[in-house]
Symmetry: C2
Subunit: 139 residues, 2 copies
DNA sequence: ATCCTAACTTGGACTTTGTCTAAGTCAACA
DNA sequence: TGTTGACTTAGACAAAGTCCAAGTTAGGAT
């Protein structure tokens, strides 16, 4: 994570305590938090941090490619600190839990030119859906 | 579409004018509308239809598997009437346009058991991202 | 054909998620 | 250590969606 802070400083970021706390929260958690969850955890370390700053900082991290935004349901977006490691997501239809997964092969290879309609296709996000072991056992 | 209305009636649906209008709107459009867009088009045919009813009806159609809910960005969900024909989506990062596409092969085959973490995986949604021809030409 | 009633619809209040703004604060350079 | 523009703040605002009590109605029963 010091890597991250250094990298950001190199890009002209002003390193405020608020930004440091947001970065630390994302680094400490290996789950996919919503903006409000990030805010709640940030408040534990820096009580006066505002919601707006958390939103701003998350937006900046996404813009810099350090964090991924994941919209798996129509609800709140989730933030994935694992941006430098290509992966996809497996979502539980019961409880909404998300796991990072690594499918085989290149998903773009499955889309023939005839199915691209002139688009310049640059990436693919895959969301696998299913039930986690806990939810499968209590229907 | 009469098929759809018949099918729904067979499942015990009360066939109200509001539901009929929502179903007709979805059938008439081959794009992916938001709930508010469905409401706007429904109002043209049935001025007194309420937003709540449109949301209720869309939710019921999704629950019955007649319509798919697509959340490609963090914004409003979109509704895809093409639920009985397996397909994925290609989204323009510039203007948000969505096209249905048909990749080759079975996406589930790319996820080995070791990457399923005990989940019962039932499906996969793929969102290809890129620029449509129009957006590619005006950066 | 008319009645009855559970199912459906309505408008509006409410919630959640996210954005914007004006005024105040502060990190980092000189 | 001073300066300044970038950053943060609280709160108003907006968009998308849910919920509820009261009113309406489709369709089976009579």
């Amino acid at each position: 994570m010091n890597d991250l802070l250094e990298r950001l400083r190199g890009r002209g970021w002003r390193l405020t305590s608020q930004r440091r706390v947001v970065a630390e929260v994302l680094d400490g958690e290996h789950v996919h938090l919503t903006a409000d969850e990030v805010h709640a955890r940030a408040v534990e370390r820096l009580p006066e941090i505002s919601r707006a700053t958390v939103y701003n900082t998350l937006g900046e991290l996404v813009g810099l490619g350090e964090v991924l935004e994941v919209a798996t349901d129509g609800r709140a977006k989730r933030y994935d600190p694992n941006a430098h490691h290509a992966h996809q997501h497996l979502v539980c239809s019961g409880c909404g839990a998300i796991r990072d997964v690594h499918p085989l092969g290149d998903p773009l290879a499955a889309l023939p030119a005839a199915e691209r309609f002139g688009f310049t296709v640059s990436g693919a996000e895959i969301t696998y859906r299913g039930l986690c072991p806990d939810c499968a056992n209590r229907p």
